[in-house]
Symmetry: none
Subunit: 223 residues, 2 copies
DNA sequence: CTTGTTTGCTTGTCTGACATGATGAGCATA
DNA sequence: TATGCTCATCATGTCAGACAAGCAAACAAG
């Protein structure tokens, strides 16, 4: 087990009290820091660090001199995280919901704005993904590079810099999936389609192919 | 000025060191907590709470016995803060291109997923923006809160995390614009439309209203 | 060269204290 | 009675100092 980071553990405990056991409900006031730290068997400093974490995540709201409360916006999140598995599941779903917005547009923009060299880069990166899959290596790095090359060709610097955030968040949980073989197969086919349209600078075709690619991945992941 | 929350202030200071002045670069190690707390003129506890906040936001990474480091994923966020000099017109255009992708979607999702309380929050935030404009106060904070409330109601945690990054990047350039009066007028009208559709949970209406709002803003900004 | 130990850095946690904001009970006054 | 003030009380905010524990490089022994 992970025995590290007491304060993190405390944060998880409190979150569990809200999202799972529902000892604490949205809008409800928490016991004072002295009492709560004693009940949880940690010092007040440690408890406060845990609270700060949950606070910046929008789970708790602290009012000086008044008390600490469960955010009312947590109403929508309770029952979503019955366990860690479902919790990460909903997070990945959020991520793919975001990718479905960004990446098809990036693919379309790439068709309109890419230089010839960037076009070649995309095709080369796609070939690298294919090689990784066929040689049974880890394809995550190559896959992210493929999407990154498309983002570069879109000439939208901001989305380009947003991409690694999304990818790093996805890769955490995607590697836990069992159906890696199926996922690889679908990736192989979808990437070929995407590259087909990008090579011909067909923006709407590329957009549709990217949407399909992401939806297929979501389907395999059971989202 | 805001005299509240020293630890929050410290967190902002550190973030500024990374995103604006670039005293701290992605991957770089921070000074030890003793040294840094002394340099910032606060106690170690306060500094640690600030670090915890930035940590849960993915800005910093802490390794016990080794040190605290600026996350490498922050590479994409530098220069998107208050640095208006290096922010070229095309970058702002890139930003709005991004907002056009997901803010309309957030508005639509909010219509479908918001709780009654969250709906009220959105309307209250909208009223606050109106009050700020009519009393000729700075509307940026209220405006960002309005969009944030919509993001919360969308129940997509990831996009909610992305929002402050984009807003912080946009806010500075907007405040430099000369046509504040016109922008305020348009905002007043557009927000009313957005709230009209959200209140009735008309997803497509809200989406269209948000698109119009952003395009109007871009028009005023000359993008 | 390899291995084991020491040493000095780092963060993690605990304790106790005082400062400051929010609140309501109780009292004085009109 | 009604109103306004003071103050005790409880909440979080901040501080200071101490010790535990992890990590890595320098160092000593084989």
């Amino acid at each position: 087990m992970e025995k590290k980071n007491l304060s993190r553990q405390v944060a998880d405990d409190i979150y569990r009290m809200i999202a799972v056991t529902q000892e604490l409900r949205p809008g409800q006031q928490l016991p004072g820091e002295m009492i709560l730290s004693d009940k949880l068997g940690v010092s007040r400093s440690t408890l406060r660090e845990a609270i700060k974490t949950l606070c910046s995540q929008g789970v708790l709201e602290v009012y000086r001199g008044k008390g600490t409360y469960v955010a009312k916006s947590m109403e929508g999140f309770i029952n979503f995280g019955l366990d860690d598995l479902n919790m990460s599941r909903s997070r990945v779903k959020d991520l793919f919901e975001s990718r479905l917005l960004f990446e098809p547009q990036l693919a379309a923009l790439a068709c309109q704005r890419a230089t010839e060299d960037e076009l070649k880069d995309i095709l080369a990166a796609g070939a690298e993904v294919e090689a990784s899959i066929r040689s049974d290596r880890d394809r995550t790095a190559a896959d992210q590079d493929f999407h990154k090359k498309i983002a570069i060709a879109s000439h939208n610097r901001f989305m380009l810099q947003l991409l690694p955030i999304i990818h790093s968040a996805v890769s955490e949980t995607i590697s836990l999936n069992e159906q890696q073989a199926l996922l690889s197969e679908i990736t192989l086919r979808d990437h070929a389609q995407i590259m087909y349209f990008i090579e011909r600078r067909d923006a709407e075709g590329a957009r549709a192919a990217m949407i399909l690619h992401l939806r297929n991945a979501m389907s395999v992941l059971g989202l």
